[in-house]
C-alpha cells in the first residue's frame, strides 16, 4: 500500500531558509525547500536574476510559509499614516523608512538594496544593518506604500510599521549629535590647550619669553570659552535642578569646580598674575563627557520604548453598510463593526456578530487552546482569530479594554528618570557637604593667618575637590558591565538596573515559556503502540500542516517516510482530514473526532480508518540548567513560581524547585500583578521573569522586570531587561556579577577619595599650582577608569561570562 513513497534518505535543509525539509516533494531542479512559501521566494528572485542572493551566504532567507497569513497593509493607504511614515517627498520622489526585523545577514543587505531591479517604482534602498532599518526612495505614482510593504513581505522581509512621532525621533537624534559635538569640541580644546600650557609645567614657565605667557594665556582662554559655555552646560543645568529639589547631586560639586576653575583662570590671565587652570578645566569636562558617552551607548536595534500598542495592528477593517474601509485603530468607536480575518488580533473588547470564531487567547493568558464562543458572546482584546473571517461589534474602545487596564498604572520609572544611580546621589550628599565645610574652614583659617591667601586657598579647595574621578567610577564600571552582560545574553535598559539587580531579594518565575521551552519536542503517544504503516500515515498528514503540534509530530517521526495523500483538509482549531489509498485519517481535538474525554491542552487524537488509536501529548520541557540555577539562587534569594496554568505540572515543578518554594496556579494577569505589589509592600525587592503579555503587568510592577525571549526583538513592553532564553541558566551568575559591580564601584570611590585627599593637602595650604592640578586630575581619572574596566573584566571571567557552556 505504501509503494509511491518518496524516501527521506538523509536530512536535507531548505535552500532558502535552512530549515529541515520534511516534505521532499517541494523542490526545483536540485534545490529543495521546506515549504511552498520558501520556494516561491526563490522563484521570484530567480526570475529577477537575483539568485546571487544565495551565493553570499548559504540559506539566507527568512522562513516563508505559504499558509502564512499575510498581514493586511490596507492602513498604509490612510493619509494620516502616510504622513507619519514619509520622511521626505517632493511629488516625484518620496522617502520612507521601515524597520525590518528580518534583516540578519549580508545577503539581506544585498537583496534589499537591489529592490530597484525588481520594481521600477523603487529608486534606491539603503539598509542600516545594526538598526535593522531601511530607507527607501520610491515614486509614489508607480508603487504605493502599501504595495511596497507587500513586496517586502513577499520576499520574507515583513516591515514592522510603527507610528513613532517623527518629531521625537528627530529630537532624539539631535540630542545624540549634540553629545558628539560637545565631545569633539572639548577634546579639541583640551588637546590644544595642553600643548600651549606645556611650557608652564616646567619650572613655572622659566623657558617662556615674557610676551608669550599672556599670549598663550589669552589663546587658552579663547579655546576655553566654548567648553565652559557650551560643553559643560548640561552639568550646570542638572546641578541647578538638583538644588531646586533640595538635593545635592554629584553635578553640584562638579559645576562648582568648573565655575571656580573658569572664574579664577579668567582673573589670573586678565590680571596677568598666573597662567590659570584652563587646561584642567577642559580636561575635566572632556573626561566627564567621555564617561557619559561610554555609559549611554545603547543597543542600536533594541527599543525599550515599546508599549502595548506595538502589539496591535495599526489599522483595522471597518464594515460600513456591507463595504469595507480601512481605518486607524485609534479611531475605532463603540458600536463599530469590524472584519477580523484569520490570524488577526481582536483590537478591543467586542461581541461576535457573524461567523464561526476560534479565539486563541495565548497572547493574553498563556493558555494555547483556542476557544469557540457562541454568537453574541463577549470577546476580549488580544485574542487571535483562527479560521474563517468573522464580524465583531466593538463594545469598548481600545483604550478601555481589559488588556489595557494592566498598563494603566503609573510607570515606576517615570518618577526617577535620572540617569545616575541612587548610590552616587547618596555619596555626593556627604561629599558636597564635606567639600563646602573644608573650603569654609580653610577660608576661616587663612583669613586669620594671612588674608591675602584666603581666596587662593578657598578656590583651590573647590577646584581640587571637583569629583571628576568620582563621577567617572559609575559610568565606566556599569558601562563596561552592560557590555559584558550583553555578551552573556542579557540586555539591560540602562546602567541603573545593574544596581537594582544587585539588590534583588526575591526571584519570581512565570512557568510557561519562561522556565519551559516552547520549542518542545518531547512528545508522548498514549495508546497502543503504532505500527510502521500507521506512523507513515500520521507523518504524511502532519507535514501538510503548519500547526505547531503538527510540526512537533513531524519532527518526532523524523526517520519515517511519507506517502501521497488525497482530500487533505485542515480545519483550523479542530484538526486534519485526509485519505491514503481510500483509508480516512482524522487527527485533531477530541471534539473533532467525537471522543468523550477530559479536556486537555496540546493534545492530538488519532483515528485511522475509523479505528481510534490514541493521542499525542506535548510535554513541558524545562530549560537547560534550570535545576542548577534554582539551587544557586536559593542560597541568596527567595524563589516563587506563579503561572496561569492548572496545577497539572505541580509534581514536576516540585522536582526542580524543591518543596519549600511558594507556587500558585491559575493566576490571572491581574493576580500576578497584585501579588508582586503585595511582595513589594513587604519590602521585598522583586525580580520578575516572564515571557507573555499576561506577565507584562507583573513585570512592569516589579523592581526589576526581565522579559525572557527566544528572539530579543520580540520582548515585552515595560520590561527593564531582556534575557535570551538560552542564557536563563546564567541568571545566578549574572546576579552575582551585578552584586560584585556594586562592590567594585565602592572600591573605586575610595580610590578617588584618596586622590582628593592628596589634592586637599596642597589646597588647604594655599600652595596648589596649576601643574599639580594638571597632573592630579588626569591621573586620578585614568586610575579610576582603568580600575573600573579591568576589575569588571576580571569579575566577568570569574563568573564564566566567556565560556560558552551554558550550564
Amino acid at each position: 500500500m505504501l509503494s509511491s513513497e518518496t524516501k527521506l534518505s538523509s536530512k536535507s535543509s531548505c535552500y532558502h531558509c535552512g530549515d529541515e525539509c520534511l516534505n521532499k516533494n517541494i523542490h526545483k531542479d536540485d534545490k529543495y525547500f521546506c515549504c511552498l512559501g520558501c520556494k516561491t521566494v526563490f522563484e521570484i528572485l530567480d526570475d529577477n536574476n537575483l539568485a546571487e542572493y544565495y551565493n553570499i551566504e548559504s540559506n539566507p532567507g527568512n522562513k516563508q510559509e505559504v499558509e502564512h497569513i499575510f498581514s493586511d497593509f490596507g492602513f498604509l493607504d490612510i493619509e494620516e499614516v502616510k504622513n507619519q511614515l514619509i520622511t521626505f517627498s517632493d511629488g516625484a520622489k518620496t522617502e520612507i523608512s521601515f524597520s525590518i526585523p528580518g534583516i540578519h545577514c549580508s545577503s539581506c543587505i544585498w537583496l534589499l538594496e537591489r529592490l530597484p531591479k525588481m520594481h521600477e517604482g523603487v529608486f534606491r534602498v539603503e539598509v542600516n544593518f545594526l538598526k535593522k532599518h531601511v530607507d527607501i526612495l520610491i515614486d509614489e505614482k508607480k508603487i504605493s506604500l502599501r504595495k511596497l510593504a507587500e513586496l517586502l513581505e513577499s520576499l520574507g522581509y515583513r516591515p514592522n510599521i510603527l507610528l513613532e512621532e517623527k518629531e521625537k525621533k528627530k529630537a532624539d537624534r539631535n540630542k545624540d549629535l549634540s553629545y558628539i559635538y560637545k565631545l569633539g569640541i572639548s577634546g579639541f580644546a583640551f588637546g590644544n590647550i595642553m600643548l600651549l600650557s606645556l611650557p608652564e609645567y616646567f619650572e613655572e614657565g622659566m623657558y617662556l619669553d615674557e610676551q608669550f605667557g599672556p599670549f598663550f594665556g589669552y589663546i587658552n582662554l579663547i579655546l576655553g570659552f566654548p567648553v565652559f559655555f557650551y560643553c559643560s552646560s548640561q552639568y550646570f543645568v542638572s546641578a541647578w535642578k538638583g538644588i531646586k529639589h533640595k538635593a545635592l547631586n554629584i553635578d553640584v560639586p562638579i559645576s562648582l569646580g568648573i565655575l571656580v576653575l573658569f572664574v579664577r583662570s579668567v582673573f589670573e590671565i586678565v590680571s596677568q598674575t598666573g597662567p590659570g587652570y584652563i587646561d584642567s578645566m577642559t580636561g575635566l569636562v572632556f573626561f566627564l563627557l567621555v564617561g557619559r558617552w561610554f555609559q549611554n551607548r545603547t543597543y542600536q536595534a533594541l527599543s525599550f520604548e515599546k508599549d502595548y500598542k506595538n502589539y496591535f495592528p495599526l489599522g483595522v477593517t471597518k464594515m460600513i453598510a456591507g463595504k469595507t474601509e480601512n481605518i486607524l485603530l485609534k479611531d475605532v468607536k463603540e458600536g463599530d463593526q469590524l472584519l477580523i480575518r484569520n490570524g488577526e488580533l481582536l483590537p478591543a473588547d467586542a461581541q461576535l456578530i457573524k461567523g464561526r470564531a476560534f479565539i486563541d487567547y495565548s497572547f493574553v493568558t498563556g493558555e494555547s487552546e483556542p476557544i469557540s464562543p457562541e454568537k453574541g458572546s463577549k470577546l476580549y482584546a488580544g485574542g487571535r482569530q483562527r479560521g474563517e473571517q468573522i464580524i465583531i461589534e466593538i463594545i469598548k474602545e481600545f483604550s478601555q479594554s481589559y488588556l489595557m487596564q494592566l498598563w494603566k498604572h503609573e510607570d515606576k520609572n517615570a518618577k526617577s528618570d535620572q540617569q545616575m544611580s541612587a548610590m552616587i546621589n547618596r555619596v555626593s550628599q556627604y561629599f558636597t557637604s564635606i567639600v563646602l565645610l573644608t573650603a569654609a574652614l580653610a577660608g576661616l583659617y587663612w583669613s586669620i593667618v594671612d588674608a591675602s591667601k584666603m581666596m587662593h586657598a578657598v578656590s583651590s579647595v573647590l577646584i581640587i575637590a571637583c569629583p571628576c574621578a568620582l563621577a567617572l567610577c559609575i559610568p565606566f564600571t556599569y558601562g563596561n558591565g552592560l557590555k559584558l552582560l550583553e555578551k552573556v545574553g542579557i540586555y539591560l535598559k540602562d546602567a541603573r538596573f545593574i544596581e537594582r539587580m544587585a539588590h534583588v531579594s526575591t526571584v519570581v518565575f512565570d512557568k510557561t515559556g519562561t522556565i519551559t521551552s516552547q520549542k518542545s519536542k518531547d512528545l508522548i503517544f498514549y495508546g497502543k503502540e503504532l505500527s510502521e504503516e500507521q506512523k507513515v500515515c500520521i507523518k504524511s498528514m502532519v507535514i501538510h500542516s503548519t500547526h505547531p503540534l503538527s510540526r512537533g509530530i513531524s519532527e518526532h517521526f523524523s526517520n519515517t517516510s511519507t506517502v501521497e495523500i488525497s482530500d487533505f483538509e485542515e480545519l483550523l482549531g479542530e484538526g486534519l482530514n485526509g485519505k491514503i489509498n481510500g483509508i480516512i485519517i482524522k487527527m485533531g481535538s477530541a471534539d473533532f473526532l467525537g471522543i468523550p474525554t477530559i479536556k486537555q491542552t496540546s493534545v492530538v487524537h488519532v483515528n485511522i480508518g475509523g479505528q481510534y488509536l490514541g493521542y499525542f501529548k506535548m510535554g513541558n520541557i524545562y530549560r537547560n540548567g534550570l535545576k542548577n540555577l534554582i539551587t544557586n539562587l536559593k542560597k541568596e534569594n527567595k524563589i516563587e513560581v506563579m503561572t496561569g496554568d492548572t496545577d497539572a505540572e505541580e509534581i514536576n515543578l516540585k522536582e526542580y524547585f524543591g518543596d519549600n518554594v511558594w507556587m500558585k496556579f491559575a493566576m490571572s494577569p491581574m493576580d500576578k500583578r497584585n501579588h508582586i505589589e503585595t511582595l513589594q509592600r513587604n519590602k521585598e525587592k522583586v525580580l520578575m521573569l516572564g515571557d507573555g503579555l499576561n506577565d507584562a503587568g507583573a513585570i512592569s510592577e516589579s523592581y526589576v522586570g526581565i522579559s525572557i525571549s527566544d528572539d530579543i526583538f520580540g520582548f515585552l513592553p515595560s520590561c527593564d531587561a531582556i534575557l535570551e532564553a538560552d542564557s536563563l541558566s546564567r541568571l545566578g551568575n549574572i546576579l552575582k556579577f551585578t552584586g560584585a559591580s556594586v562592590k567594585l564601584v565602592k572600591v573605586n570611590f575610595t580610590i578617588s577619595f584618596a586622590y582628593n585627599l592628596v589634592g586637599m593637602y596642597f589646597a588647604v595650604q594655599g600652595i596648589l599650582s596649576p601643574i599639580i592640578a594638571a597632573i592630579l586630575m588626569p591621573l586620578s581619572s585614568i586610575t579610576v577608569v582603568s580600575f573600573a574596566i579591568l576589575s569588571t573584566n576580571i569579575m566577568a571571567h570569574k563568573y564564566n561570562f566567556y565560556s560558552f557552556d551554558n550550564s
Binding site: 553570499i56 521626505f88 517632493d90 520622489k93 522617502e95 549580508s106 543587505i109 544585498w110 538594496e113 537591489r114 530597484p116 529608486f123 534606491r124 539603503e126 539598509v127 542600516n128 544593518f129 545594526l130 538598526k131 526612495l137 549629535l177 558628539i180 559635538y181 569633539g184 569640541i185 579639541f188 590644544n192 600651549l196 619669553d209 610676551q211 608669550f212 599670549f215 589663546i219
Partner: protein
C-alpha cells in the same frame, strides 16, 4: 620670535578646520551607520546601483 605668533595662529586655524570637518561629518550622518558600508563594499556587482542625491 614673532614668527611663533603667526605659526601658532596658523596651526590653530588648521586644527580648527579639522574640528569643523569632524562636526560636519557627524551632522551629515557619516557615523550613523558604521557596519553596513563595510559589508556592502564586499559585494561583487557588475552593474552597480547609482546613488541619487537627496535633494
Amino acid at each position: 620670535m614673532s614668527a611663533l605668533f603667526v605659526l601658532i595662529i596658523i596651526s590653530l586655524i588648521v586644527a580648527g578646520g579639522f574640528l569643523a570637518a569632524f562636526l560636519w561629518s557627524v551632522r551629515n550622518g557619516q557615523y550613523d551607520d558604521e557596519v553596513t558600508p563595510s559589508i556592502r563594499m564586499l559585494f561583487d556587482d557588475n552593474n552597480s546601483i547609482t546613488k541619487e542625491d537627496k535633494s
